[in-house]
Symmetry: C2
Subunit: 359 residues, 2 copies
Amino acid sequence: MTRIFNFCAGPATLPLPVLERARDELLDYRGTGMSVMEISHRSSTFDEMANQTEACLRRLMSIPDDYTVLFLAGGATTQFAQVPLNLADPQRPGAYVVDGSWSKKAHGIAARLGLAHLAASSEDTGFRTIPAEQEWNLDGEFAYLHYVSNETISGVQFAQPPECGLPLVADMSSDILSRPVEVEKFGVIYAGAQKNVGQAGIALVVVKKDLLRDLPTEIPDLQSWKVQHEQGSRLNTPPTYAWYIAGLVFDWIETQGGVERMAELNQHKAQTLYSFLDQSQFYRNEIPAEFRSHMNIPFQIVDESLHPQFIAEAEAAGLSSLKGHRSVGGMRASIYNAMPIDGILALIDFMRDFESRAG
Amino acid sequence: MTRIFNFCAGPATLPLPVLERARDELLDYRGTGMSVMEISHRSSTFDEMANQTEACLRRLMSIPDDYTVLFLAGGATTQFAQVPLNLADPQRPGAYVVDGSWSKKAHGIAARLGLAHLAASSEDTGFRTIPAEQEWNLDGEFAYLHYVSNETISGVQFAQPPECGLPLVADMSSDILSRPVEVEKFGVIYAGAQKNVGQAGIALVVVKKDLLRDLPTEIPDLQSWKVQHEQGSRLNTPPTYAWYIAGLVFDWIETQGGVERMAELNQHKAQTLYSFLDQSQFYRNEIPAEFRSHMNIPFQIVDESLHPQFIAEAEAAGLSSLKGHRSVGGMRASIYNAMPIDGILALIDFMRDFESRAG
């Protein structure tokens, strides 16, 4: 077996030790004689797994006791509707900062529910920047301020959470657990799992308990964070295997030294690639330094006609899924927690070699 | 490793060859150098897997071309809301036949949306029967007739689909692929995966295309079958690994001889256990023969005080998760496709032995 370096934006590469443990336990979960896939979500075995998983996440993120941790079916897009349904009213909508494709989608879904206010957008810069906080329009009464901490497509990332005074609601799908965050600063942190947490099909939702509320009767209970909190995220059968994989990933992060260590490694990985790009006359990244993502690094060749050849040859060389999103073009290296520095170095070696042949 | 016999109602036991294949492919999906969990849902590799999976399901169930097949995040409970949202109007609600806990939940969620009519209920029999079709109240205009083909808790099953003239919408979560069904008779067939299809967190939804329609703007697109159909069930990142496991299960069923062969085996398994129960003075099953499920067989000991001992000793003997639902009490053997006849025989041997010691 030859593992390749997978730069996909998501579903993304997972730590090899996580996959090996999943493989080794696949037919017999810790002596139960069953696969995790076959275990009742109402069993003590599952309870124990779920409790350990939550406890590990709480340690990793220093989640205070007045926050609940939910594991819900679907992804962040599912939560794009659940956020306003659980927090906003027509008289008190959510305020949205739009700095990329995902925050635009989140705003659009809330707007269709009549529960959104657009506070700021950087769409006029092609989402290459983040709107300056002093220019956000927050005149009015709002239930929360929603932002996406890292935008995977254009590759911009909030260096720090905003300080606008509203309860912060952050979609951290693409940078959760990649660096420390002060959970106390947030009302809600949510994340689809398929980038830094594990397997597609489950989302983490961390909610300050005083924000939990009863929903109108016509909203199905599955969409109610309060009900899901009361039911331990098991109102119905949850995605049990994806939950388990998340637990393996949390364990792995802890073994590696926690999110502080992840942040060091991620900064080193990103800096290595950005430094190479910045000294190059052949490649470029168009994002101003202060907005650059540590997770998703889009880059182009100055001669754009070479992009298809680059992508094809990289793929053949075991550097997979480097094609950029069609709205940006060129290439994109997604380098979440599970991407080792060796993947970055292999990519840079390939880029040097490609340049020497094509440049 | 010792595999046990797992009689859990769901998540349920899976075919050993499916688990072995998942294990063997876990680190490297068919030479890609990646786990299925790590593969983009927009990649040609995933497309091919999804297409093969759908084609296999279409062969197994003889699904006509004028039906779409969706693979959606969540489970049947998620669909309890999506069914009325996609098909009904306040002026034309869905009609519900309630013959167990699941159909009662489905009706309740549709009723909270103002989109339900109760056509019949057997709750007054403790859900031990199915309401006779000639007594259903179908006076009015209804978008569909909803029923649950097999009720896991009380253990009743429709022997045949109803013939009421309305578009049939069937929750087949617990008996899909366990016997042939004439898909042409249905408007919609849906099923959570964690019983006969694979892993929790994904639902199959088979919809006659002429029922697909645009939804009001305030319903998120994720809940629209029409949009999901147009997007190949990939409006957002789907539960890719659960989708893959479903494909492995479909392959396994085909290898075994298809749903006709499954039906023969399931009938034999159920008949073997019911026959044993019916000749016993010690054990009993309270469901009239015409309503008995081939998938979930609740049973009690006449001396009910022995139930805890039975369940504990069975668990210790490798016959797991036999505890019945608390609303019924006693025991329940869930014997979906993946439960081999050897599991039934081992259970009966144990029951004989327990009786000889306790009786």
